[in-house]
Amino acid sequence: MNEMSNTPAQTIFIAEDEALILKMMTFRLQKQGYTVITAVDGRQALDLLQSLTPDLIITDLMMPYHSGLEVIEYVRTSLSASIPVIVLSASGDESIIQKAHSLGANEYMSKPFLPNELLERVKKHLG
């Protein structure tokens, strides 16, 4: 991961169906100089990931059409074993979080979260 740390425009992919959180995250991450690509549901997320390989992926777990778990599974099996994946969830359901980890998620953030917490996690992985 560290080989990308000095690249000025690292790409972050966000899959989130809730418009306000998406807006907030996008805004804050762009302000940090990242390139942000967004998907508003699981289907769009899987579509976009066919043709791009981001440096980091943030995905909500509960989304229409395809859940965040399916997104993680796709990333790990078809895209890359090393792309950091941060999952967001408001459910607090331990079994789902466990499942996300077992599928290969790196970080879990419970909603609501402060943007700075997210920025810290992103920085931790992207340097």
Binding site: A19, L20, K23, F27
Partner: protein, 703 residues
């Protein structure tokens, strides 16, 4: 000539001659008496003469018989000649479908000389009949109506009836057909049908005319009664109150007249139907008392109701119509009583338990007794017993006539009886079915909510083309601190609804450009809005309410609309039914909402960036109405899954605007599956109040 006598004489002569011829042999052979030859010759000659004369007589007789037989056909008419005398046509048709016989009347009816084709018409019919006769199982009707055309006579209708004739072996050989001209009967039938149709059409046209008149009278009445109600709410001078009371009484009387005319029209056209439901007798007695007592008080008249203990408290009846009957009689009693007592008694007739329950309602007044000859006209239309009394009372003279029709519809009897010097008794006998189920609680509909429980944020759209009625409704709503957005027709309503959402829509029905039905259908189907719509209509035709509900409206107000009716409608559709809710001040203090927004969290979220905040508030406002609607709807329909799903997502939005506590409250609601939609609605309402406060705070910060 008597044939039988002749025959007897001949037989007698023949017998005697044989005897005589045998006598000589008799003597000779049996008694061995010798008869002299001369004697024998004499006897033989005598016998010979006898035989000759006998033969001659026989010859003569035979000749006479032949003569008689030859005379028979000429002196007596044949069977077919009889048939020619019949006014009905008779035809005999053989199995080859040839008409082998047709009597005179038949020839005239079929008019074969002028129209030979008619013969085939008859043959075809008998052919069909014959075919059915051979098929035992499926005999075609032996009777049919044929239309006979001919160039000479006008189109005629013939009723043909046919019977089969079978031979000894059971084989069909001929058919005999009776032809009867029914043109006259048919013409009469057609004519009477035409007359009946005309009458029905006239009745229907009158019904429509009355409905339109009623609509056009109700529309200005809505303004008259509405403005007087609004004025009455103000502090007015005593004189003003008298004038207002006058306007209101006149308006109400006019309305009663229109209602009675409509009832009458419906009764005549057979469109008035009863809706029997389980009713509480107490409800009816109280409803009557509530109307009668105020009128009685004004006239120094007492009113008393008495129900026998054995009368069933619940039975099947049309509550409104039974009340109407008793009120018509009660009002009549008040009008004709200057002082004294009016009583309503309810008894049960228990003459025959097999005939079911029979109730007897008796209203006795203390008025001047009505003369017998006038009493029999008391139920007549406009059967005013005393024009002066009617004039004073302002009645229409239709009430008792309608009451009689209603009682007849209920299968009961109504009668009036005058007691000299002791007033008049009206008796209504009514067969009723007992109801096992208790009557639905009716108090709910009469309970009214206090205006102060209506939140000021409630947004109301008023769709009404009549400017005066716009003002009345606006005046009513202003009393609840509600300021409706007013548009003039359905199309304008749709344009407004594309940009803004409302909590409640009041929709007039008859409007130019686009009426209320079409507007509602468009709102429901094209705009896919579930905003409650309350119809306001001056139409009162049967089925009008159903038509409104079918178009997608939620409730129905009949014009003229009374202020108290709005209480119920607003209570039903307002976002909060919390009665302890304090009236909201029109302008909110700027500091409001600080408890909703977690400011530290907000600053963290936005990093002090108002541009982001503005964008997020805009995003939030875009989705807010949908969230709100879905949450209220799913709570109402107890769709827990949808509620949870929507709440979950909405919670994220709330958190994103730092309404952390509100989001927590919603989370509690999210897992709450209590089957009490009302409680949930109350909580949701206060939750959205909070959100509004929070938004106000955010907008103030951005301003």
């Amino acid at each position: 000539m008597q044939n039988s006598t002749t025959r007897r004489i001949i037989l007698a002569v023949f017998a005697v001659s044989i005897l005589l011829f045998a006598i000589p042999h008799f003597y000779e052979n049996i008694f061995a008496v010798s008869v002299p030859a001369g004697m024998r010759l004499l006897i033989d000659a005598f016998i010979f003469l006898l035989i000759v004369s006998l033969l001659y007589t026989f010859y003569q007789h035979t000749r006479h018989a032949d003569y008689l037989i030859s005379q028979v056909p000429e002196r007596q008419p044949s069977g077919t000649q009889y048939l020619d005398l019949l006014p009905e046509g008779v035809a005999i048709v053989d199995t080859e479908q040839q008409i082998s016989y047709l009597n005179q009347a038949g020839k005239a009816l079929l008019d074969l000389a002028a129209a030979p084709d008619n013969a085939r018409l008859l043959s075809d019919w008998t052919a069909r009949f014959c075919a059915s006769c051979t098929g035992v199982n499926d005999p075609s009707p032996a009777e049919e109506t044929l239309l006979i055309d001919s160039p000479v006579t006008p189109l005629r209708t013939l009723l043909v009836q046919t019977r089969p004739l079978f031979d000894a072996h059971g084989k069909l050989v001929q058919t005999i057909t009776l032809l009867r001209d029914t043109s006259e009967i048919s013409r009469n039938e057609i004519e009477s049908k035409r007359v009946q149709k005309l009458a029905e059409q006239a009745l229907a046209e009158r019904e429509i005319f009355l409905a339109n008149i009623s609509h056009d009278i109700r529309t200005p009445l809505n303004a008259i009664l509405g403005f007087s109600e609004l004025l009455d709410q103000r502090k007015t001078e005593p004189d003003d109150r008298t004038y207002l009371e006058g306007i209101r009484t006149s308006g109400t009387n006019l309305l009663a007249l229109i209602n009675e005319l409509l009832d009458l029209s419906r009764i005549e056209s057979g469109q008035l139907t009863l809706e029997p439901r389980p009713v509480l007798l107490d409800d009816i007695v109280q409803a009557v008392a509530a109307e009668i007592i105020p009128k009685a008080r004004r006239k120094n008249v007492q009113y008393r109701a008495q129900v026998d203990p054995d009368v069933p408290s619940v039975f099947m009846a049309d509550r409104l119509r039974l009340t109407q009957v008793l009120l018509a009689i009660g009002t009549h009693a008040i009008n004709f009583t200057d002082e004294g007592l009016i009583t309503l008694t309810v008894q049960q007739r228990t003459a025959d338990p097999l005939q079911g329950t029979h109730l007897l309602f008796t209203i006795t007044d203390a008025g001047n007794d009505i003369a017998a000859d006038k009493l029999e006209h008391v139920f007549d239309r406009f059967g005013r017993v005393s024009d002066q009394a009617m004039y004073r009372s302002g009645g229409t003279g239709l009430g008792l006539n309608i009451a009689r029709s209603l009682v007849a519809l209920m299968g009961g009897t109504i009668s009036a009886e005058s007691h000299s010097e002791r007033g008049t008794s009206f008796c209504v006998g009514l067969p009723v079915d007992r109801a096992d189920t208790p009557a639905p609680v009716l108090t709910q509909t009469t309970r009214t909510m206090r205006p102060r429980s209506i939140p000021a944020q409630m947004t109301v759209l008023l769709v009404e083309d009549n400017i005066l009625n716009q003002k009345v409704m606006a005046g009513y709503l202003n009393r609840y601190q509600l300021k409706p957005t007013i548009v003039n027709n359905g199309l304008e309503a749709i344009e407004v609804l594309k940009d803004r959402s409302f909590d409640l829509i009041f929709m007039d029905i008859q409007m130019p450009i686009m009426d209320g039905y079409l507007a509602t259908e468009t709102i429901r189907q094209q705009l896919a809005l579930t905003t409650p719509i309350v119809a306001m209509t001056a139409y009162t035709m049967a089925g009008e309410r159903e038509r409104c509900l079918l178009a997608g409206m939620n409730d129905y107000l009949s014009k003229p609309i009374h202020m108290h009716q709005l209480d119920n409608v607003l209570a039903r559709f307002m976002p909060t039914p919390v009665s302890s809710y304090e009236p909201t001040k029109p302008t909110k203090p700027v500091a409001m909402g600080t408890h909703v927004i977690d400011e530290d969290f907000l600053n963290e979220l936005m990093d002090g960036d108002d541009e982001l905040l503005a964008e997020m508030v805009t995003l939030f406002l875009q989705d807010l109405p949908t969230y709100r609607q879905t949450l209220f709807d799913s709570a109402e329909q107890q769709d827990h899954a949808l509620f949870k799903q929507t709440a979950h997502k909405f919670r994220s939005s709330l958190n994103s605007l730092a309404m952390l506590n509100t989001a927590k409250s919603l989370k509690v609601l999210e897992t709450d599956t209590t089957p009490d939609p009302l409680a949930k609605r109350i909580q949701l309402t206060s939750l959205f109040e909070e959100i509004n406060d929070g938004l106000t705070f955010l907008q103030n910060r951005l301003a």
